[in-house]
Symmetry: C2
Subunit: 433 residues, 2 copies
């Protein structure tokens, strides 16, 4: 898909200026397919309507593809589900028949995604149409609804949504699309089931859904509060107080994967950029269009840390014990991700900062660090360095987007294999701390 | 001890210029007691011989104190040791009598430390004396031997050991002192026992010792190779090829806690600084004078990640299975440490970069990031920003040195309590990746 996208974007009709080179077309195609949203050019002016349409199609198929694959992978992994795990799958996917098939899941995902995107597009259309005219409003409404639900972060405006930063309706519609697109299909199905059930006994949500919803809510609120404090006198300064709260909230929501922005990332304070890096690393929920190491991964490790600090042997949360398998997976995903990012950052620094004295280029460290985390988390926020990257730098970012897209899932899948060691070695402590 | 040191350093006789203020004296006293080595002033010129002597005493007692406490804590923790764990303690500390007491351990530590420091001081004295005269060489030889063994990183030269960067003897003596001081007393005792035994059956080293020795060796060699590549045309450029290898090796050895330098940290490449940050975070081995989250912690998580990726349920290394308790501790230590460092970095950025536009101060991000990790890992390397820190920044660094010194140990200790949960909740998976 990336290859086809690359070819389609290299056609002269795709760009307004000269045709895109291989690396730039590859970059844009990967960025769209992986729903990242980083751009080596301004798609609002640099690409023709045809080129933008290619991007839109890549986003839509990339987003749905990752949604489907990750959902199926998560279902496959649970070969030996616990009691409540089994209940979850049955409740979620059987829809009464008693047997869930891949094609049924596929259909459910496509129908859900289409309905949500259509509703979002309609909302945006109704909001925009009075200003831009009923005919011209349709295309951006559809583009942005798809881009938001798929957490792609591509925008037809060169400043993303800075122009709409005080528009409550646009902010609200985009936020809902982003959150729903990033929470994961399994959670959506679980919640839907929960509220549509007419049984007398109220079924509780699965542990996974509760963890995903709680983690997302906490991250959004804490993120917004932190951004509010750190940017109050900086990028938030020109806004009214409710406007500041809205902008901080929007930035907190989009930073974990969507990648839209209503504030100027390039002039944000260092501490805010560093904080956004952490949000970008965490990312969205598993089984969604979002990237990062995933909210549940970080939540699991956090619960483990806190439980152990309180002296409990097993990680407990919401009156459940997390399985050792979940914790091991989480540790592997985080460790490998950190190693990959570290390597990529070093490559980027060597490829981008070669020719200058190191004390002069200190400032670019944070920008490249930010860029690498944005690519890995398929977020797409940037301080503006994307267009200035060298060829080596662009290739590194392409690799990082690709690894960030599939890596955590592949690692979790690999970790799920159960290989019985022929020899069981004696246990022995090592000293820690 | 920190308080007494602060008072002693505030006396006018301690400094060559005006007396130190409370915060500066507190900073220096904490830095010395925690064997960190960060300085708000150049101790070679800013402090009198008396002031330097106070620093020396603080280093010696701080280093021995942390060595003793951490060794005793590690021994205490093993209330329910595994079979081979029990063997280790008995073999290591009983010295034939059959019962180890805290005072016996204390004595063994003091004797070992004194012998090693005396040997190091003698070596340095013999090397230096022909140049500086037999009388004047004694004081720096003792100071630097103590500073190296305690991994303190204080030097009587304003450029640390840059002047000796091509001196094989000085490099070798300091390196050995640093490595022995950072490997941990338990490992020293274990190795000593291994080679002094006259039994016909050769006893293997404990898993802990093998992990500690392997991790240290790998980190030193990989670190040196990385520094060699990244700094070849930069700070290493003026040296001969063997000189470059020696300098890279020395920098790799000192970065994980000692904090001496023979290269100019301030003009290093961004990628090198970032890489050194990782080494500083990892730190030395538990039960030593060194800081950081500890080599065995990172090694344990690495083994878990690799074992799980290969499909094994349990983390296996050297024909042993790591206990779940070790892994849980390691996860807690790393998670909490990262949270503390993140918080400190944000405070530092807010306290230090307040008055300037953010695009102008981008460059200071990496320097403050480096400074925070250096303080947390009680390393003492600096790009040179220590002296320019605001009061708030100095207090943050003091707090970070203190937390970095005791934190990992306290966390590991807290995690070791075993509290039996009254209710055992059902296990349930969450989805990861
Ligand atoms: K995105
Ligand atoms: K040190």
């Amino acid at each position: 898909m990336i290859a086809i996208g690359t070819l389609l974007l290299m056609v002269p009709a795709a760009s307004t200026g000269t045709s895109l080179g291989v690396i730039d077309a590859l970059f844009m195609s990967t960025s769209a397919s992986c729903v990242t949203g980083l751009s080596v050019l301004d798609i609002s002016h640099g690409l023709t309507r045809y080129g933008q349409f290619v991007i839109l199609v890549l986003i839509q198929f990339g987003g749905l593809g990752i949604l489907t694959i990750s959902t199926l992978v998560l279902m496959m992994v649970r070969k030996r589900p616990t009691l409540s795990g089994q209940a979850l799958i049955k409740d979620t996917f059987t829809y009464g028949e008693g047997k869930q098939t891949a094609s049924a899941v596929l259909k459910a995902i496509f129908v859900t995604a289409f309905c949500i995107e259509a509703a979002g597009a309609l909302g945006l259309y109704l909001r925009m149409a009075p200003e831009t005219g009923w005919g011209r409003a349709a295309y951006p409404a559809v583009f942005h609804a798809v881009s938001a639900f798929c957490n792609a972060g591509f925008s037809l405006y060169s400043d993303s949504f800075v122009g709409y930063r005080e528009d409550w309706a646009v902010n609200a519609i985009l936020s809902v699309l982003i959150i729903v697109g990033g929470i994961g299909f399994i959670v959506i199905a679980d919640v839907k089931k929960r509220f549509m059930e007419r049984k007398t006994v109220v079924r509780r949500l699965s542990l996974h859904s509760r963890v995903a919803l709680t983690a997302s809510a906490v991250l959004i609120l804490v993120g917004a509060a932190a951004i509010l404090v750190m940017e109050w006198n900086n990028t938030l300064a020109p806004l009214s107080v409710p406007g500041r709260i809205m902008a901080a909230l929007f930035q907190s929501i989009t930073a974990r994967t969507a990648g839209f922005n209503t504030l100027d990332i390039g002039i944000m304070a260092n501490e805010t950029l560093f904080f956004l890096c952490i949000l970008m690393f965490i990312g969205a929920c598993p089984g969604s269009c979002g990237g990062g190491v995933k909210t549940t991964t970080v939540f699991g490790l956090w619960v483990l840390g806190i439980s152990r600090l309180r002296g409990y042997t097993h990680p407990q949360v919401f009156r459940r014990t997390l399985t050792e398998a979940s914790i091991s997976k989480a540790t592997s995903v985080v460790m490998v991700s950190m190693a990959v990012i570290t390597l990529a950052i070093m490559v980027l620094m060597m490829s981008e900062l070669g020719g200058f004295s190191h004390t002069q280029t200190r400032g670019r460290f944070l920008e490249l660090f930010f860029e690498a985390l944005s690519a890995f988390g398929t977020v797409g926020l940037s301080t503006g360095v994307t267009e200035t990257l060298s060829e080596m730098g662009r290739i590194t970012i392409v690799a990082l987007m690709f690894i960030g897209r599939l890596g955590p899932m592949v690692i979790a899948l690999a970790v799920s294999r159960e290989r019985i060691s022929r020899v069981h070695y004696a246990e022995e402590n090592i000293m820690i701390g």
